[in-house]
């Protein structure tokens, strides 16, 4: 099967905000999902698919259907595979970080996992066959066109993404397995709005627009054209840049463990959320986590107001309560509040 090669992440022209959001999520998955909303043909899907090729490889217990981490030993899958692995002196396997594409028309049983049909048919056995959520554990789950996915599936995904665990209670099966993944959703506002309850479950949100600058647009098409003519050669040319970003992510991940957040930054974040009237604490939490990831990417050892400023729009714009009579769009409102609170 010949799959098309992925367009390199670093070769995407412009769209700084989208790339920044993805990198933040790659550094610290606890930021929550990424929502990419905007015009058609702006490289939303391209960026997500490029991410898979970009991320540093991760170590897994061989054959564990849930990509268990061999170091932490915290696979709660209850399978013997992990236990056996830890008792033996087998070596962990290095694999690509899973970026699971949620196909259109997916049925619920394949998302959460269900009775293994093959074994049921051939042997009359009741066994659990893990679904997409298992495969996405420790990686990314991508939904293109969130608006086209059935509501109940979206709700289910958000629920699992928030709890980090998939609980299956059906057909006499009772299975619990880890499902920690970063949810990435994309969509087009012309197809309809997303419900507010759904919006605020995503950690960061990006508004993508078609570039208006002519040179930038020409560059977009030139690179795409070169890529289509010879994908292998094109990817080789960008390999160095890809390597640099990969290293940046690895370093940032190490750095984030020791990252300090001064009280002044915490207070500024709280002030910002207060000024914007965002509901609940989720906004503040995301704000701090994203700022921490941003600082780690920048190579800093502690978070400062600049980092906060850089990610404020990403983390807050979708959390504002909508005021139908106020025409100012959310981005402008956040920017205004940032200017007031952070000077």
């Amino acid at each position: 099967m010949v799959a098309k090669k992925a367009f390199p992440f670093t070769a995407i022209v412009g769209q700084q905000e989208m790339k920044q959001a993805m990198l933040i999520a790659a550094v610290d998955g606890s930021v929550g999902g990424v929502l990419v909303f905007g015009d058609r043909g702006t490289g939303k899907s391209t960026a997500v698919r490029a991410l898979a090729a970009l991320l540093p490889k991760m170590a897994v217990v061989p054959d564990c259907p849930y990509n268990a981490d061999p170091v932490t030993k915290d696979c709660s899958c209850g399978l013997n595979i992990c236990k056996k692995f830890h008792r033996s002196d087998a070596v962990a396997k290095q694999v690509d970080v899973p970026v699971v594409d949620m196909p259109l028309g997916v049925t619920e049983d394949r998302v959460v996992g269900a009775l293994d049909l093959e074994r049921a048919l051939a042997h009359g056995e009741k066994a659990f066959e893990p679904g997409l959520l298992a495969r996405a554990n420790r990686g990314f789950l991508y939904i293109d066109e969130v608006n086209l996915l059935e509501d109940h599936l979206v709700d289910l995904l958000l629920d699992v993404a928030a709890s980090g665990e998939n609980l299956v209670e059906r057909e006499g099966l009772s299975v619990r397995h880890p499902a920690k993944f970063v949810l990435v959703g994309s969509g087009n506002p012309e197809e309809g709005e997303l419900r507010p309850q759904l919006l605020d479950r995503f950690g960061v949100s990006v508004d993508v627009r078609t570039p208006e600058d002519l040179d930038e647009r020409v560059e977009v098409i030139r690179r795409r054209d070169e890529f289509e003519q010879d994908p292998v050669k094109f990817c080789r040319r960008w390999a160095r840049k890809e390597g640099q970003i990969r290293k940046q992510i690895s370093l940032a991940r190490e750095r984030i463990a020791t990252m300090t957040v001064p009280d002044s930054v915490l207070r500024a974040a709280a002030g910002l959320c207060l000024a914007l009237g965002t509901d609940g604490l989720r906004g503040e939490l995301t704000l701090i986590r994203a700022a921490r990831a941003q600082a780690a990417l920048a190579g800093a050892s502690s978070v400062n107001e600049d980092h906060l400023r850089e990610i404020a729009t990403l983390a807050l714009r979708h959390r504002l309560r909508r005021d139908p009579l106020d025409d100012a769009n959310a981005t402008v409102r956040v920017e205004r509040a940032v200017a007031e609170c952070l000077g």
């Binding site: 099967m1 010949v2 799959a3 098309k4 015009d39 058609r40 043909g41 899907s45 594409d101 196909p103 259109l104 028309g105 997916v106 049925t107 619920e108 049983d109 394949r110 269900a114 009775l115 049909l117 093959e118 049921a120 048919l121 051939a122 009359g124 009741k126 066959e129 679904g131 997409l132 293109d144 066109e145 086209l148 059935e150 509501d151 109940h152 057909e171 087009n188 506002p189 012309e190 197809e191 309809g192 709005e193 997303l194 419900r195 309850q197 078609t210 002519l214 647009r217 020409v218 977009v220 098409i221 030139r222 795409r224 054209d225 289509e228 003519q229 909508r322 139908p324 009579l325 025409d327």
Partner: protein, 583 residues
Amino acid sequence: MSDPTARTAAQWAVRAVSVFNICGAAIGGIVLRGAPGPLRERCLKACRSAVESRPWVRVPINVDQDRLLGGLDLTATLAANRPVIARGLLASAHGGVAVLAMAERQSGFVAASICDVLDKGYLRLERDGVTAVEPAQCAVVAMDESRDDDAPLYAGLRERLALTIETDALPQDLDIASVASAAHADRWREVTLPADAIKTLVQISDQLGIASPRPAIAAANVARALAVLDGANAATSTHVAEAAVLTLLMRMPGGLSALEAPPPADEETPAPEPEQAPPEPAGDDADRAEAVEDSAGVEQLDEAAAAMLPLQLLTQLAADAQRQSKTSNAGHSGAQVQGNTRGRPLASRRGIPSGGSRLDLLATLKAAAPWQRLRVNRSGARVAVARDDLRVRRFKAQTHTTTIFVVDASGSAAVQRLAETKGAIELLLAECYVRRDQVALVAFRDRDAEILLPATRSLVRAKRALAALPGGGGTPLAHGLRVGLDVADAAAKRGDTPLVVLLTDARANIALDGTADPALADAHAIAVARDYAARGYQSLVIDSGRRPGKRCRTIADALNARYLPLPFADAGSMSQAVQSMAA
């Protein structure tokens, strides 16, 4: 070959089909726009001639997900005692062509699945307990029969299909059988482009108001294919200009006629006939020079392209296209008419499939699976499914409501009331995603009524339409009701429940024939209102007059509507009133 504009519609069609046959899959495919008929058939046949033994798969309207994407094959599964996958239409089109009949009526789901396959080149199947990845690289022929006021082709699909042929514009004696076959396939990949080709293509897309970069990317490949057709190894600027016509200009409705017909008559200096266009675009023609200066960067336009595409025409076309897209709700038509086989699935239930309910295969097999050991011995069949195992699918059907606001924007209805209505509509829209409802807006003023907002769920679009709502003039109440009725009928046809909210002071003074006669206007308005009652549409009349009165109540009675005098209503209470009715 020297003057690419000298082609007739038929010659352009031949070029388009030839390009399709050379690199169809790489540029998405082709849209055949026009009514069904012998001309369209001939174009279709020409596209097919190059396919030869490769697959040619028709995707019918109302294709279901199992058939389109694939799923579990029951018969084979039972015979083999292991899950067997039935290939879907998209996977069977691999290496060939998928033909979409009535593409504009296909549901958003079908269109989005096709877009997905075009982007990735493979299909990932995760359905009914089976998992598979199948190659699916194909070109698409989409037959688009939409007329001016229909919903157009799903925008995501439209922008991925490079070529367009307007079949209604073709001559009856069209000879399109003799097009290039796929013999020199793949040679086009090696063709080089002129240095400024991509810049030119981007500029032309900008001029035409095409925001997405996809058509321009495809145009570059079309230029390569055109060079191959002419036996060249390098594309010239003529090929680039031709590619711009084939992929960018012909995409606009009526785009090709812009090349043939002289520019609009309101231009003072007669513009040069495009056929004899001078090579220098900014010549002595003053109007034209001005137009060129207006748009930044246009002076760098490739000469050939600039000569072919007079700027004023482009602006006109872009405006037309925008007007068209405003009156339609892209890709949603047909999606809703699926009755109770749609909606939130509930747990399958034990039962015998019949009539409306469908067998839930997976659940049935699952129910039967644990018993196989016991049953097989008894019956001898490989898989024994008993009557008790049968499960049927159940859906919780959602009833969609389309709330249609028919708003009096005449001089007699104070401007302030208009602002209140805007507020109420926005409040309703803000919550409408949750309820999955749609909102439409019809305004009447002066001498006519207009659909400002076709049924939509999009707050973005609604806000744009509302901001542009003007006020003042006479009160053509009957016109407004008639247009509102059309919108309500359309909603009902889609399977939605229309809910009409009429906001007026009912001081009708323009009759249906346009005469300013209050008595006749009232009579007409009442006559149209009775049609609502006859169809059984629910409606609400909000009397916005300063002194609520008899005239409005008469209309409400004719509509069989609830009557609500709201002389001092605010946006909040108005939206409450509507919601209480919808509940």
